[in-house]
């Protein structure tokens, strides 16, 4: 897949979602000399622009799957293809570049840097791409406006409510125009109203940008919002 180009031939940021395919994905952790199998020959197929919810009990392997899809750790066995990119064999800088260019993360714990303001947190993701300060600041401000937090740009996370922090995290996840959005329990720390707001926002942004959205959740109501529901138990898919 080639990036769309301007008339001058300069590559522009990708838009739209990306298909995700996984085959025979296995993953194990070794603690104290003991190996624990977390994912067991897992297959996965998500259409470009799709919205999939993954549920399952604690320790089922949901977060591990999300980590592998997001390139947070290298693949041990099997294959994962995200768009045209094969994650098998990627490591170090290549995996960092994949995360920077293709993936946006939303965490349950928000993952905001406490000493930075909302605006600076969003800008941080853009800083890693080497963009100049003026353009990244303008884009970060625009993203905060989009998530309804333009007026809270200068506030630090400690001064924001849980819902507001998660909206800042969503703005940051969208900063580099990701084609795959991965959300790990995005409403896990929010009250009902804030959770509803965040879900509405995620859905609206996905619809507007057409990116592929994978949500890991325990929450049935969050899962029901997805186009497709998958349930993971003991590292294998089971009927939801």
């Amino acid at each position: 897949m080639s990036l769309p180009s301007t008339s001058s031939g300069v590559a522009v940021a990708p838009t739209g979602g990306v298909a995700v395919e996984g085959f025979g994905v296995r993953h194990a952790y070794t603690t104290g000399g003991e190996q624990t199998e977390v994912l067991d020959a897992l297959d996965l197929e998500v259409a470009a622009g799709g919205h999939v919810a993954i549920t399952g009990p604690s320790g089922a392997g949901k977060s591990t799957l999300l980590s592998l899809l997001g390139g947070l750790e290298p693949l041990q066995a099997g294959s994962i293809r995200v768009g045209e990119r094969d994650l098998a064999g990627l490591g170090g800088d290549a995996l960092a570049a994949y995360r920077r260019e293709t993936v946006g993360f939303v965490f349950q714990h928000y993952g905001l840097v406490e000493v930075l303001s909302a605006l600076e947190n969003v800008e941080l993701a853009l800083t890693l791409t080497g963009r100049d300060r003026a353009s990244r600041r303008a884009w970060a401000r625009e993203l905060l406006e989009q998530v309804g937090l333009g007026h809270r740009a200068s506030h630090r996370p400690a001064a924001l409510s849980g819902g507001e922090r998660q909206r800042v995290a969503i703005a940051r996840a969208l900063a580099n125009r990701p084609r795959l959005l991965l959300a790990d329990e995005p409403t896990g720390n929010l009250d009902e109203e804030a959770a509803q707001h965040v879900l509405d926002l995620l859905e609206a942004l996905r619809a507007e940008r057409g990116c592929t959205l994978l949500v890991v959740t325990h929450n049935r109501r969050v899962a029901e919002r997805a186009n497709e529901l998958r349930r993971l138990v003991g590292g294998r898919w089971v009927e939801p």
């Binding site: 977060s63 999300l66 995996l95 570049a97 995360r99 000493v115 930075l116 890693l128």
Partner: protein, 434 residues
């Protein structure tokens, strides 16, 4: 991540978490302060001690006397003079042309009858000597100003006195300032006739103001004057008839010299060459060598203290940075999740360490300079009380740079292991459990 962005991020992290980094900064600051204060005090003390040993003159100074050298002269730092020998201008030129001779300062001592200002229990007149030196180059002379200043070169109406003069007038040596501004009449003797075996003197009078109190080792005498004055006195004496052994006419152009060698290690050869020309010499070679040996021991001890402080500071930095890495595992994971490479994280943490070091270094250097200044004030109060020249605390640029730069480098070195640990943390830290 570009260097500029990493710089900004690290600076924000340090300044906005300053409560947490304050103790680390304090440790660096104290180590840096100790280093700067010790280095400044040691450098100042070393130069002051050497200056004291060399009597305020150049450390490479050799005193030459218009007298023959006795056998074994070079085995002693002091003069071993034999019978008088003329120190003529050709002899001075010969000495000046010796290898490794940087400067030659002539000294001419002349007898004088002094009429000091009236004091409650002091004498009305004293027989003394005036030491004439070349005051255009006072740095070549073993002269230390204790109060006031040196007489202006070539000006016979100004004179400096020694503490010995104060003693002869029964004045308080702790208050040398008291005599400054007073006038003294100085008479150079000339034997102008002899009647029935008795000699008659007449004097060449000079009315001079005391402008300073000095400690000097250029010649034996309690008055320090421009050499032009004692040369004029010599001419005046030569116009008389003299009187054999009792008041002989002066034959030597100078009574002594101060010869400055080009470097400390050339003092020995230069002194040997002058002695070989037949003149008695004196140089504190062995004394300086011994003093330097003791100073080296002091340097080593103080260096060890500074080293311990540096080690403690670096352990503090390493510990604080390790704690920061432990506390910020998730933040580091998130940073990687949004695309930071290992080297981006390494760079950010190293820069944080560098900032802690630089802030601590700047504050510590300022504190160290202030401490050294305060110590200088106390030392000066003591030295003045002892009738000695005070010290001037000057913090060398190298010490200032070492205070700031050294602290920064130390912090970077101490922060390297924690930064590497942070860089190697897996991006998965952002997510947590399975």
């Amino acid at each position: 991540m570009r260097w500029r962005d990493a710089f900004t991020l690290a600076l924000e992290s340090v300044t906005r978490r300053f409560g947490r980094t304050a103790l680390t900064v304090l440790a660096v600051m104290l180590a840096s302060a100790l280093l700067v204060a010790l280095a400044t005090i040691v450098i100042t003390a070393n130069s002051r001690v050497i200056r004291q040993v060399s009597k305020g003159g150049p450390i490479t100074g050799i005193r030459v006397l218009a007298a023959q050298a006795q056998p074994g002269q070079l085995e002693s730092d002091d003069f071993r003079p034999g019978r008088p020998v003329d120190l003529t201008i050709p002899a001075v030129e010969e000495i000046r042309s010796l290898p490794d001779v940087a400067e030659v300062a002539p000294v001419l001592v002349a007898d004088t009858l002094a009429v000091p200002p009236e004091t409650p229990d002091g004498p009305e007149r004293i027989f003394e000597r005036m030491v004439g030196v070349d005051l255009r180059r006072p740095e070549n002379l073993p002269v230390t100003v204790l109060a006031g200043r040196l007489p202006a070169p070539g000006l016979s109406s100004e004179v400096a006195v020694t503490l010995g003069y104060l003693d002869r007038l029964h004045l308080d040596a702790d208050r040398p300032d008291a005599v400054i501004g007073a006038f003294v009449d100085l008479a150079s003797p000339q034997v102008y006739r002899q009647v029935n075996g008795e000699i008659d003197y007449r004097g060449r009078w000079v009315h001079a103001q005391i402008v300073g109190v000095v400690a000097q080792d250029a010649g034996a005498g309690q008055f320090l004057v421009p050499i032009e004055q004692t040369q004029a006195d010599r001419e005046w004496a030569l116009r008389g008839i003299g009187d054999g052994d009792r008041q002989p006419l002066p034959t030597s152009e100078f009574t002594g010299l101060v010869v400055v060698a080009s470097s400390l290690d050339r003092v020995g050869p230069v002194r040997a060459a002058i002695t070989a020309l037949g003149f008695a010499t004196s140089a504190p070679e062995q004394l300086i060598s011994n003093v330097q040996r003791y100073l080296r021991v002091v340097d080593i001890v103080l260096g060890a203290i500074a080293l311990i402080a540096l080690v403690i500071a670096s352990l503090g930095i390493a510990n604080a940075m390790l704690a920061a890495v432990r506390e910020r595992r998730r933040e580091i994971g998130v940073l990687k999740a949004i695309g930071a490479r290992d080297r981006d994280v390494l760079r950010a943490f190293l820069l944080e360490s560098a900032f802690v070091g630089a802030i601590g270094g700047v504050l510590g250097t300022a504190l160290g300079t202030a401490v050294a200044g305060s110590v200088g004030l106390v030392v000066n109060a003591y030295l003045t009380q002892q009738g000695l020249e005070g010290v001037r605390i000057i913090v060398p640029w190298a010490v200032l740079l070492a205070g700031v730069g050294g602290a920064t480098l130390l912090a970077i070195a101490a922060g390297t292991a924690p930064a590497l640990r942070a860089a190697r943390l897996p991006a998965r830290e952002a997510v947590g459990g399975a």
